[in-house]
């Protein structure tokens, strides 16, 4: 089985700083993969390379067999890659529903003329889009919040709305940048449940950056570790946990490994 996403020797340099350094990574279809690493390791930068916000100096990114290098962000989204942001970036003055509708933008085809004339086709397309937007809001757990202006949503709901917006483009691969950051334990559980349902019910491949080791260990089928832009380990959660370089670079002293092991076994 060929990977859905194949990252090959990707390198991104900012001035003198090599933020991502020759990273190789394969992500299987319908898998949940975590990317971990200390702050400033280059995780977000890698996501930015995948979504076209940055163009890597070296390397190749193959999605479903074709290259994403040099494509505009909207073209990449069109291919089926959607994302959320570490620091929430919703369209603040738009309602929850409208945010998801913008997410569907490139799946809507009615011409602008037909919007002026409100043709039957355009109207039914709009209705379907609203329908789908509501379904997606329900799916992420924001039923009944569609009319709320997104800046007025509580923090946790804003993260969920970002996921719903990303789902609007009907992605095959969803990149989640620290989806549980700043959430309380029950909100985190909700988010993790959502990640599972994304894969199980919608068949979406999930690639996420996460700091909470408990979450990472319990949710992911495979884990990749970045440190100073380099991939230092990759494998199942157990393998990564046992990896000496990871322990040194990221997990720190022995005690923490112990803790991680314990919490994973709960």
């Amino acid at each position: 089985m060929t990977a859905l996403l194949s990252v090959q020797r990707v390198t991104k340099v900012f001035g003198g700083l090599t933020a991502v350094d020759g990273v190789d990574l394969d992500i299987e279809e319908r898998s949940i993969t975590s990317l971990i690493g200390p702050n400033g390791a280059g995780k977000t930068t890698l996501f930015n390379c995948l979504t076209g916000l940055h163009r890597p100096e070296v390397g190749e990114i193959l999605f479903s067999g074709s290259s994403l290098i040099g494509l505009r962000p909207d073209e990449i989204t069109d291919r089926g890659v959607a994302r959320t942001y570490q620091n929430i970036r919703l369209f603040g003055r738009m309602t929850a529903l409208e945010n998801v509708l913008v997410g569907q933008h490139l799946r809507l085809e009615a011409s602008h003329w037909s919007a002026v004339l409100r043709t039957a086709r355009q109207q039914s397309e709009e209705r379907a889009a609203r329908e789908l937007a509501r379904d997606l809001l329900d799916f992420v757990g924001l039923s009944g919040r569609e009319g709320v202006v997104s800046t007025n949503l509580p923090y946790g709901d804003q993260r969920l709305l970002e996921v719903a917006r990303a789902l609007g483009s009907r992605p095959r691969l969803l990149l989640l940048d620290e989806p549980a950051a700043g959430m309380n334990p029950s909100e985190t559980d909700r988010m993790m449940d959502l990640v599972h349902r994304l894969r199980d019910e919608k068949g979406i491949t999930v690639f996420l950056i996460e700091h909470d080791m408990k979450v990472v260990m319990s949710i992911s089928e495979s884990v990749a570790v970045l440190d100073y832009g380099e991939k230092i380990a990759e494998g199942t959660p157990e393998e990564v946990r046992a990896n000496a370089r990871v322990v040194e670079a990221y997990l720190g002293p022995e005690v923490e490994v112990q803790e991680a092991t314990e919490s994973a076994s709960h």
Binding site: T51, G52, L53, R72, P73, D74, I76, T77, D78, A82, R83, Y85, R89, F91, G92, R93, M94, T95, L97, E98, L101, V102, G103, Q104, H105, L106, R107, L108, A110, H112, A115, V116, L117, R118, Q122, E126, R127, A129, R130, R145, E146, G147, V148, V149, T151, N152, P154, R165, A166, G168, S169
Partner: protein, 640 residues
């Protein structure tokens, strides 16, 4: 109405009066002569409005919605359908008399001002037969000023015998201004929930009759004003004497503006449709009942409405600050001029020869030239758009500003092509079915009335297109781009296409406006297309409310119409105007009639009620209308 607020209303009237008295003593009315009355009426209306606003701000302490459950951190500005069983605390705490109170207080404050003016005039006036004679009481200054106030020009002072009817009407006019201010304040308040709020008030909180009276008064006002304008235009009717023309213009401006508020006060659904259609017919009748001068001003106003609507697409919807918008206006105007004026530039004629067409004049009529002007302007829009695609904010503003100037300098200096500073003369008039303003059969409509009519129809068309586009995926993409360009792109918005569409559509509207402007002016010169046109267009959408077409119409009425009424004040015109603008932006920072989204941005909890909604959500609106109906039904049951 509680004694306290009645006192406040009278006090407001007194303050307004003190201000007026001050103006009289420094001799302003005498100086501005003919148009003293409307100016002062406006000033007093403004005072009243300010006072009412202060009160409404004090009131809005009750307007904060804690929202359902612990869901909301900030006052909940929910948009979209609401559960009708979920009674908003806002509605329950709002005193039923709010709207009625506003109206009564407005009238009271207006009458105080009016009566005091009557008293002041009375001091110096003695009954004389069936009229009132103006006598000098104080010095030279005062009678001239008082005379000007009641519509007698300083020159007429010697034999001033003012018909009693006219005198009474002047006084009533002030009361009317107060009433209008009250309605505007009431409408502005109700806009936070739009008509739904009023519907709930009428049905739930007893006193439905009084509130309905206020609402119907608001809806009826523009029609009354329209009838009044028509009556003033009848031969033999002279109410305001030498000021007739200016005052009729002022009332026309007010009628058009209050029409927009009336539309807002009407309940969504059938009532709004009926009011809208009737208002539309009333406004369409205007070009036929106004005279040449009033029509020419209104024509200009609506040409700028078109400009405003176009610029609003670029600035308001897409969030791209364009300071060179006049360029497309100029392109539209010059394109039509080339095609329809006797002047033929050597370039154009050699081009025609190349194409094998014999040059004749005019090349194209108005309607044939229209698509050409629109396309040329759109091309200009794209031409400007491409180099600035990657620019944001200040840089974009500066570059576009330069573009506007380049086009003007081009017109000025390419003498061969454009006739330079001598301009292009004798541009032909739009004709329809062989009818033109100059033809005898066209007697009903003056030439400027014809231009006004065209401007009205074109503005309506442009507004229609703009609103529909904004309410589609394109509008959402524009707004998303304005919110966060990078995220919009990553979410799937094609930035280049979306930006260029905004520039091109905006430019097309300006091109249409420019063509009509050229027809209106007959002769155009490069200096007609200075930077100030861009600034005017931008100012009118800011004053009216960025992103809100109704606000833009109000902005154009205020910015292009009022200065014409203020003509008499020439030396004070700009100062008065600047002061008005400053006050405006303090009182309503988001514009006169802001769009729901802008109100969120300004973040003023007074402005957004708990059940505000973004109208673009068409379906939600239907649901909501149904909700209102249901609510109304509930309310009636409760009342029984």
């Amino acid at each position: 109405m509680p004694v306290e607020s009645a006192t406040r209303a009278v006090r407001t009237g007194l303050v307004a009066f003190a201000f007026l008295a001050y103006l009289i003593f420094i001799g302003v009315p005498g100086k501005i002569g003919g148009s003293a009355l409307p100016v002062l009426a406006l000033i007093s209306a403004l005072f009243i409005w300010l006072a009412l606003r202060r009160e409404s701000a004090a009131l809005s302490g009750t307007a904060v919605d804690p929202g359902p459950g612990a869901y909301q951190k900030k006052p909940g500005w929910e948009i979209g359908p609401r559960d009708t069983s979920d009674a908003s605390p806002f509605v329950d705490h709002l005193p039923f008399s709010v709207v009625t109170g506003f109206v009564l207080k407005g009238v009271l404050a207006g009458c105080t001002t009016g009566l005091l003016i009557a008293v002041l005039s009375g001091v110096s006036a003695t009954a004389m037969g069936n009229g009132v004679s103006i006598q000098p009481v104080f010095d030279k200054i005062v009678p001239v000023n008082v005379a000007a106030l009641i519509g007698v020009s300083p020159g007429q002072i010697a034999q001033a015998e003012v018909p009693l009817l006219r005198f009474v009407l002047q006084v009533l006019f002030f009361a009317g201004a107060g009433l209008l201010a009250a309605l505007v304040a009431a409408a502005a308040r109700s806009s936070q929930s739009q008509a739904e709020q009023l519907a709930r008030l009428t049905t739930r909180l007893s006193g439905p009759t009084t509130v309905n009276v206020a609402r119907y008064a608001g809806v009826a006002l523009p029609f009354l004003l329209l009838a009044y304008i028509a009556w003033l235009g009848l031969p033999g009717v002279s109410v305001f004497g030498s000021n007739e023309g200016t005052i009729r213009l002022l009332i026309t401006l007010i009628a058009t503006g209050s029409g927009l508020f009336a539309l807002r006060l009407s309940l969504p659904g059938r009532e709004r449709t009926v009011v809208g259609v009737l208002l539309g017919l009333g406004v369409l009748a205007m070009p036929f009942i106004l005279d040449q001068f009033q029509n020419s001003v209104m024509g200009l106003v609506f040409i700028f409405v078109m400009m405003g609507l176009g610029l609003n697409i670029v600035v308001g919807y897409a969030g791209l600050l364009d300071l060179g918008y006049v360029a497309f206006f100029a392109i539209g105007a010059y394109t039509y001029a080339f095609l329809s004026a006797p002047f033929s530039s050597p370039y154009v004629s050699s081009l025609l020869l190349l194409l094998g067409v014999a040059p004749e004049s005019p090349l194209l009529g108005y309607w044939m030239a229209l698509p050409v002007a629109m396309l040329t302007a759109a091309a200009g829009g794209i031409l400007l758009g491409i180099p600035v695609l990657r620019m944001r904010g200040d840089y974009l503003a500066i570059v576009t500003l330069g573009f506007g100037e380049i086009i003007r300098l081009f017109m000025l200096n390419l003498g061969e092509l454009t006739n330079g500073p001598r301009g292009i003369l004798e541009i032909s008039q739009p004709a329809l079915f062989g009818l033109s303003p100059s033809s005898v059969t066209f007697g009903l409509l003056s030439s400027q009335g014809w231009i006004f009519l065209l401007a009205l129809v074109s503005s309506a068309l442009v507004a229609f297109v703009a609103i529909r586009l904004n309410d589609s995926r394109l509008g959402r993409a524009w707004f998303a781009m304005q919110e966060d360009e990078d995220v919009a792109e990553a979410t799937g918005v094609h930035l280049v296409r979306t930006k260029l569409l905004a520039f091109a559509i905006g430019a097309t509207f300006a091109g249409m406006a420019g063509q009509l402007y050229a027809a209106r002016q007959i002769n155009i010169f490069p200096e007609n297309f200075s930077l100030f046109v861009s600034i005017d267009a931008l100012a009118l959408i800011i004053v009216g409310g960025i992103g809100s077409p109704a606000g833009i119409v109000l902005g154009a009425l205020a910015l292009k119409g009022l200065p014409e009424v203020l003509r008499g004040v020439d030396e004070y015109r700009i100062v008065t105007f600047a002061a008005l603008l400053v006050i405006m932006m303090i009182v309503r920072p988001a514009g006169i009639l802001p769009s729901a989204r802008r109100r969120i941005q300004i973040n003023d909890p007074n402005e957004m009620g708990p059940d505000s909604k973004i109208v673009s959500d068409g379906e939600a609106e239907v649901v909501q209308t149904a909700g209102v109906a249901k609510n109304a039904a509930n309310g009636q049951e409760e009342a029984m």
